[in-house]
């Protein structure tokens, strides 16, 4: 199944996330990742959904999303032509003899050390999912105590915005 990244503008109303998540569950669609946050307009939130679907199903997903009264606009982002980011916090076991190696590793990934304890280091990293995967692989041998990763967020490259809708392909049929 192909991955598709959808940017969805929704009215900032109670229950809007439940409506979207519920619609996916009820229609048996696949969500890989979901992130939601405010926009410059307090009445509007922006969701980034990464879904797994073939072409026909993707069209259905977009159309069914559009039927939700609180959904304002949906755009599919082309991953190759977008800035795609996730954020990750990792707490790594850090024996004194490994400390400098771990810090060096974080540097390579342009990650930040955000907390240090006697025997652990917490690293904050942002990037595309592939980069974050690679960092985890390299940290694994030291011992990962715990980690947390955000959903994907993404913006199309270039000067245009989702609200002018000319560059990115508008999916809205209604």
């Amino acid at each position: 199944m192909n991955r598709h990244t959808l940017s969805v503008l929704v009215e900032n109303k109670p229950g809007v996330l439940t409506r979207i998540a519920g619609m996916f569950a009820r229609r048996n669609y696949n969500i890989h990742s979901l992130a939601v946050g405010p926009t410059d307009d307090p009445r509007v939130s922006r969701l980034t959904l990464v879904v797994g679907a073939e072409a026909v199903q993707l069209e259905q997903i977009v159309k069914q999303l559009n039927k939700l009264v609180h959904v304002l606009k949906i755009v599919e982002l082309d991953e190759a032509d977008s800035v795609v980011r996730e954020m990750q916090l990792v707490k790594v076991a850090a024996e004194p003899q490994h400390r400098s190696q771990i810090i060096e590793l974080a540097d390579v990934f342009r990650a930040k050390i955000v907390d240090v304890d006697h025997d652990s280091i917490t690293i904050e990293a942002a990037g595309d999912p592939g980069k974050l995967e690679a960092m985890i692989n390299l940290l694994e041998p030291y011992g990962i105590r715990e980690m947390v990763r955000s959903g994907t967020i993404a913006l199309a490259r270039g000067g245009k915005s989702i609200t002018d809708g000319s560059k990115v392909r508008m999916q809205r049929v209604v």
Binding site: V10, E11, P14, G15, T18, R19, G22, M23, R26, V56, E59, Q60, K63, Q64, N66, K67, L68, V69, H70, V71, L72, V173, V174
Partner: protein, 591 residues
């Protein structure tokens, strides 16, 4: 915007009064409801309101009545009930209205805002529960929001693809006093249904039609919702296009017309099923390629290109790939198509090939419904239903339950207009007929007879609403086709489970339906044999000022044919029990 009183001191009202004023502002004339704790504040101003309230006997009755009312009139049906168990009693009806695109507004009471989430007495997460079975819903958070929420709900329910909308209002919101104002305009930036079809697609559709040799109009329930009878008639007759009408669309094109080829689907007419199978073009008008119509999807209408008109873009391409998609209200789109035809000369656009029409007319003649009614004795259900039609006639509205009697009613009555036939198609809700017929009767008024044709199983799910009909003087004709079985389930057990009948028998004389008529104080008639049929119905017909109950004791062994077995190709349509048995025998011989 303040209801015309800008400048003067605003009128102070309670939330409860705001509910009633909102309904009045929308022109609602009747609500179906049942009171209780959380909604009680709204029942007080109701006493003085310019609104008819029909007190039901079960909240499921309220919502099915609202559906029947909406079905019959095209206007939004409104029901109002309390929180918790009352609201959950609406669930079946909401799901039903959602499936069949019926405009319904449900208002439910909720526990006070401070109690929400505390598992308070009669609390249920009603917006959560009904999210997937409503077009939209809202939990109202302040009295100032009541009018806006109800106005928007009403608009959403009846526009675009119609459907049920629920507004949940906490008790303290109903009790709070605030400054009333009616929002003349509604603001729904995320909701803008497309009404007009795309001009280019309109022309492409006509191009495909002009090229087709075996075109068929596949007419769906959306035509009824949009009130497009006339446009459909003009379009079909002008182009000479044969028409199949789905279970939800029966009547939207008159069955007696030579272009009418019947109903498609699992229990459709042979000609209705085969017209689609043989077609090279489906002109799909507000139908949704439901599995009960298509049978095995890959084998459905295998030679056909598809034009699909629907107001809901999500229906287009959902089940069947489409050659020409047209998003828009089907009534408006048909108007656009007719307009383009007006501008063309007849030479540009000749009616479809005569050979194809003749072929279908012949097919209709050669493959009629097969009912064998002996002259005396045992009454076949189809005979009873046909006699009901002959008694109440074309002017009446017919409302069915779910099961064999529903399919026979869809098959044997020649419908002539949309809204004349009301049934639960998408959800298949047993218990629908009694309350839906009551709601329909409230909608159509004194002069139009409303006849419910129910099954003995279905009837026992909701017949408590007979009291509603009596108390509120709603003279519906209730017919029960009593075959002593959950007949449709029995039919499947007979055909597909080797006649191993499991939990399908209902004693034909328990309850005694004549005693039920008696208990509710209405005339009851029982027809035991075919010989009594006409005289008894003539007597029942004379009663027009009160509800009537008519029981038909029918042949329990009768089955619904034609039938496309579940999951089979429509090409395998079986026309009679004999044909079915012959096939079984042939299959046994092969082994």
């Amino acid at each position: 915007m303040a209801g015309g009183n800008a400048g003067s001191t605003p009128e102070m009202v309670t939330g409860a009064q705001a509910v009633i004023k909102s309904l009045e502002a929308l022109g609602v004339d009747v609500v179906f409801g049942y009171p209780g704790g959380a909604i009680m504040p709204a029942y007080d101003p109701l006493i003085d309101a310019d609104l008819r309230h029909v007190l039901v006997r079960h909240e499921q009755g309220a919502i099915h009545m609202a559906e029947g009312y909406a079905h019959a009139t095209g206007r939004v049906g409104v029901c109002i009930v309390t929180s918790g168990p009352a609201a959950t009693n609406l669930v079946t009806g909401l799901a039903d209205a959602h499936m069949d695109s019926i405009p319904v507004l449900a208002i439910t009471g909720q526990v006070a805002r401070s109690a929400i989430g505390s598992d308070a007495f009669q609390e249920a997460d009603v917006t959560g529960i009904t999210m997937p079975i409503t077009k939209h819903n809202e939990l109202v958070q302040s009295p100032e929001r009541i009018a806006g929420a109800i106005h928007e709900a009403y608009h959403i329910a009846q526009s675009g693809r119609p459907g049920p909308v629920l507004v949940d209002i906490p008790k303290d919101v109903l009790n709070e006093t605030f400054a009333w104002s009616w929002p003349e305009r509604i603001d729904l930036p995320g909701y803008r249904p497309t009404v007009r079809g795309h001009g280019k697609m309109i022309r492409e559709a006509l191009q495909l039609i002009s090229e087709a040799e075996r075109p068929v109009i596949y007419a769906g329930g959306g035509l009824v919702r949009s009130g497009a009878d006339q446009e459909l008639f003009e379009f079909a007759t002008r182009l000479g296009l044969p028409v199949v009408t789905t279970l939800m669309a029966r009547g939207v094109f008159p069955d007696t017309h030579e272009l009418a080829v019947g109903m498609p689907g699992m229990h459709g007419h042979y000609s209705g099923v085969m017209a689609l199978q043989e077609a090279d073009l489906l002109v799909t008008l507000a139908a949704r390629f439901d599995d009960r119509v298509t049978g095995k999807l890959d084998a459905f209408a295998p030679h056909a290109k598809v034009i699909h008109v629907d107001v809901d873009p999500a229906e287009i391409g959902k089940n069947r790939a489409v050659d020409v998609p047209i998003v828009g209200d089907v009534k408006v789109v048909l108007g656009q198509l007719l307009k383009v035809l007006d501008d063309k000369s007849d030479a540009d656009f000749a009616p479809a090939a005569d050979a194809w029409r003749q072929h279908l007319i012949e097919m209709k003649r050669e493959h009629p419904l097969r009912v064998e009614q002996p002259d005396t004795g045992v009454l076949k259900p189809q005979t009873a239903i046909r006699a009901v039609y002959d008694t109440w006639g074309d002017e009446a509205v017919y409302v069915a339950g779910v099961g064999q009697h529903q399919m026979w009613s869809a098959q044997v009555i020649p419908y002539s207009r949309g809204r004349q036939w009301i049934n639960s198609g998408g959800l298949g809700t047993m218990g629908f007929a009694v309350p839906a017929a009551i709601g329909a009767k409230v909608g159509v008024g004194r002069d139009v007879p409303v006849v419910a044709i129910d099954g003995d199983g279905c009837f026992q799910m909701t017949f408590q609403e007979l009291a509603t009909a009596v108390q509120h003087d709603i003279p519906v004709v209730f017919c029960v086709v009593n075959n002593g079985y959950l007949g449709m389930v029995r039919q499947w057990q007979h055909l597909f489970y080797d006649d191993r009948l499991s939990q399908v028998a209902l004693p034909q004389d328990c309850p005694d339906l004549m005693k039920i008529a008696d208990a509710y104080g209405i005339p009851g008639f029982r027809v035991m044999t075919v010989d009594e049929l006409d005289t008894t119905l003539a007597k029942a017909r004379e009663i027009t000022d009160q509800p009537v109950l008519i029981e038909f004791r029918v042949d329990p062994d009768e089955m619904v044919f034609p039938m496309v077995p579940s999951g089979a190709s429509n090409d395998d349509v079986i026309e009679s029990a004999e044909e079915w048995r012959a096939r079984l025998a042939a299959a046994a011989d092969d082994q």
